[in-house]
């Protein structure tokens, strides 16, 4: 599978690395050239030597998406730090480029829910985090 990850922050870089380790073809797009360091960190070889691709560019620029290989992508992951960028670029991947599987990181729980009703595969770390805190409190209270 060809996996395109937009946003090489903590989440994006970690997902890209594990996808590469699983044997997928992985391309990463980020506007900050320094974000590449996160892909190399803790690895025996550089990201490129390990077989990864890295493109510097802005997520919502079509040229950048094309350079990063969106036309060959089977899975598109929008994981920049901006909810709005993620939601927009995910819809571009889905509607303009016809990428079958699009996964979007959305921090805002309310819009994560609504856009998932609209057909986006959203992942909301805030909602997951809140649920973990709730069950932790619950466990302590029952002790």
């Amino acid at each position: 599978m060809m996996v395109l990850v937009v946003g090489a922050g903590r989440v994006g870089a970690a997902v890209a690395k594990s996808a590469l380790a699983e044997g997928h073809t992985v391309s990463v797009l980020d506007e900050d050239p320094l974000s590449h360091e996160r892909l190399d960190a803790g690895q025996p070889t550089s990201w490129e030597d390990a077989g990864g691709r890295f493109t510097v560019g802005t997520a919502i620029e079509l040229d950048a998406l094309l350079a990063a290989g969106i036309e060959e992508a089977d899975i598109f992951i929008a994981a920049t730090r901006g909810d709005n960028t993620n939601i927009l670029v995910a819809q571009i991947a889905q509607k303009r480029f016809g990428v079958e599987d699009v996964i979007v990181r959305v921090l805002d729980p309310a819009r994560s829910d609504w856009y998932s009703e609209q057909g986006l595969n959203t992942i909301c770390a805030v909602k997951l985090g809140v649920a973990l805190f709730e069950s932790a409190i619950d466990r302590i209270a029952r002790r």
């Binding site: 919502i60 620029e61 709005n84 960028t85 309310a110 609504w114 609209q118």
Partner: protein
Amino acid sequence: MYVIVVGGGKVGLNLGRELIRSGQEVTLIEQERRTYLRIEQELEHSVQYGDGTELWVLERAGIQRADLVVAVTGDDEDNILICQVAKDKYLCQRIIARCNNPRNLQHFKLLDIQPAVSATDLILNLIEHEVPGHGIVHLLDLPDDKLEIIEVEVAKNAPAAGRKVSALGLPEGSLVISVLPPGRTGFVPKPDTTIEAGSEVLVVLDPGLEPQIMAQFSPDRPTA
């Protein structure tokens, strides 16, 4: 009419001010605290503090009863998403979006966020209009209605030069609606009006007819 304006920058503030002056009910939403505090001194209860892309902020502003939502922040992503939820989630009848970077206009189109207003494009069009001899100028494009109005200067060697309007070889689906002779005011032509070289003509046409129109009025120029 109840109008929600998202973004309290220069565009949003002036827009809000003018709408209030013309008697409309307005809520302006601004997310930057210092900007909000400054605007609030003038607009008082008509401005609310918050991120206008978040649903609860829009709901607090009463988006359910808004007749018009105008998204004029400095971020195109934000403007697109504000209008998308206004239209698709809150079923707001009318939206207007600001497009900051004309290269993003295609994203507004892709997600059917219309109308999208790009100040850069407006100014570019004006420059095109002011630069002499630029050939064809698009004055109005209504793709949904399959209608365009263009302005073109009649070249000396053009087939149309010196001909009567009724004798022009224009394709079906096009019409000369105005003639602007050099140095004189424009007028609506009659069938027996003669088109002089050097005049500018306004033509209403179906999209795609430009090459045929240009062949009549300005045969040497590309239609780009």
